[in-house]
């Protein structure tokens, strides 16, 4: 089981919950589980999300395994300069 | 647009007089070519005066320096006699733009561009320099401050152009200085410009003084009472305070993208004080 914290913008789309627990081994599993539970999340998840696992930001690598007890955060996909 | 490169002054004045529409003189071109970039620039004729004999020369006569209209500012610093006699004028001319601009721009062009913030004009005015104007019916000479009439406007008649700047001999106990305020150390248009020229007697007492301020009015401001406030003094602090206050009072700047009214008035006083002290030492004062 993995605890996932959503960024402010997504909270209203998930029954106003800030953190959720889902069954997941990789980032892809987390995103799939979230979308199944709250279909409204699929829009932002598809084109503007980045996932932070233990402090490291991933923008594309959804195959990244999630270590046991790791902290998972959903963040807006950010632009650099 | 037509480009002409006359070889004599007469041909130049004839060309300028003969133009139906707008005609411009090209010496250094560092102002003219910038104006040409804008879409609404149009001109019938550009007269390049650099092929006219003498335009590129600095001639030393017993009582003056005659600086040809096509002499680039960089060349002024290479003329030891001029630098020795008029360091203020040379430093003002050398503050215009960058090395690349210095290789082209001229004091006559700076004068005719009639920008309130021109760098060389306050120093020339302080030095009581004159402009030798060539025209269809001969030449005339006027004090330089009579050329600019307002931003971008000069007193030159149709067919006239400046042939040379005439700087009188400085005299023994005389010294001049030019300072300007710009946010960067180079490449800026003056937010405030201050030209000072003064002459001393043997004991170091100020006999005469002229203060000219740039970028604090539509044209260069000659601060009469500021000059008066230091005549008869040895430039002690009280005299300098009065000089600075008078310089600020004489300024009537505007707010614009380069500076505010309060800033320009205050800094005019600060620079006037500093320039006066430099001129004083150059004039042999302690």
């Amino acid at each position: 089981m993995v605890e996932v914290t959503l960024w402010g913008g997504l909270v209203p789309l998930a029954d106003n919950q800030k953190t959720l627990t889902v069954e997941a081994g990789t980032i892809r599993d987390v995103l799939r589980a979230l979308q199944e539970r709250y279909p409204a999340l699929s829009g932002p998840i598809r084109n503007e999300v980045a996932v932070v696992v233990d402090g490291v930001v991933y923008r594309n690598d959804w195959s990244r395994e999630i270590p046991e007890g790791a902290e998972v955060f959903l963040m807006r996909r950010l632009a650099g300069g | 647009m037509r480009y002409e490169r006359p070889e004599t002054i007469q041909d130049a004045t004839a060309l300028l007089a003969g133009a139906r529409d707008k005609a411009f003189v090209l010496a250094g071109g560092t102002d003219l070519l910038v104006r040409m970039q804008s879409d609404d620039f149009d001109a019938e004729l550009v007269v390049d005066i650099k092929s006219i004999a003498g335009m590129g020369d600095i001639v030393r006569t017993p009582d003056a320096f005659i600086i040809g209209a096509a002499v680039p500012c960089a060349a002024l610093a290479e003329n030891e006699a001029l630098v020795a006699a008029w360091p203020g004028i040379v430093e003002a001319a050398n503050l215009i733009g960058s090395t690349q601009i210095q290789g082209r721009c001229t004091m006559s062009g700076n004068l005719c561009n009639a920008s309130p913030a021109a760098d060389s004009v306050p120093a020339l005015v302080a030095a009581s320099a004159q402009a030798k104007i060539a025209g269809p019916n001969g030449t005339r000479t006027v004090p330089v401050e009579q050329i600019p009439q307002g931003p971008g406007k000069t007193s030159l008649e149709k067919g006239e152009f400046i042939e040379a700047i005439v700087v009188p001999d400085a005299g023994a106990q005389a010294g001049d200085a030019y300072l300007r305020f710009t946010p960067r150390t180079e490449m800026d248009i003056a937010v405030v410009g201050v030209g000072v020229c003064l002459a001393l007697d043997a004991e170091g007492v100020v006999q005469s003084a002229r203060l000219a301020l740039g970028a604090v009015g539509p044209t260069v401001v000659i601060a009469q009472d500021a000059s008066a406030s230091i005549i008869g003094t040895k430039l002690d602090d009280a005299a300098l305070d009065a000089f600075a206050a008078a310089a600020s009072a004489a300024s009537h700047p505007i707010d614009d993208k380069r500076g505010t009214v309060e800033f320009r008035k205050e800094v005019a006083g600060v620079l006037a004080r500093r320039a006066a002290r430099i001129a004083y030492t150059r004039a042999g004062g302690n």
Partner: protein, 160 residues
């Protein structure tokens, strides 16, 4: 507006071209003579990326008319190396990483060459004020100044 015929010398070669009265030397170099080394960064003489040397003085070629080049000697970046042998300044700019994007480099090299031609061992301050007309947004100028100092020393050594 009829064209003006101009004959001049560029990088030691005799060159002739036709240009419009209001055409700048920069446009002539780039669009008529294929000398693309001079770059237009601003078109108003404020950035120095178009610097060229006319009769020994480094100037902004965007503020010179093509017609004014008649009978003058012009040096551009393309003439700085001696065949395939780079000028010491060109070598030192690469060695010191004195360029990143490189768009300002031709202009800096022209200005630095003009400096060393008149002042063979300039101080840091003299270099910085002489090069103030060349804008660079990538390097912060540090390595450019060091490259010019190093080249001056090497050229000084050659002369000594």
């Amino acid at each position: 507006m009829s064209s003006i015929a101009v004959s001049t010398t560029i990088n030691g070669d005799d060159v002739e071209y036709l240009c419009q009265a209001d055409e700048t030397l920069l446009d002539v170099l780039r669009n008529r003579l294929g000398l693309m080394g001079a770059k237009e960064g601003c078109g108003t003489g404020d950035c120095g990326a178009c610097s060229a040397i006319v009769d020994g003085r480094v100037v902004c070629s965007c503020l010179v008319l093509g017609a004014e080049a008649q009978g003058r000697t012009i040096e551009t970046i393309e003439g700085m190396a001696n065949g395939s042998e780079l000028h010491p300044l060109q070598r030192k700019f690469i060695e010191h990483a004195a360029l990143q994007c490189g768009i300002c480099t031709p202009g800096f090299l022209m200005a630095a060459k003009a400096l060393l031609d008149v002042n063979s061992s300039p101080t840091e301050e003299e270099i910085r004020y002489w090069l103030a007309g060349n804008l660079c947004r990538c390097t912060g100028y540090d390595k450019i100044v060091r490259a010019v100092q190093d080249a001056a020393q090497e050229m000084q050594g050659e002369r000594a």
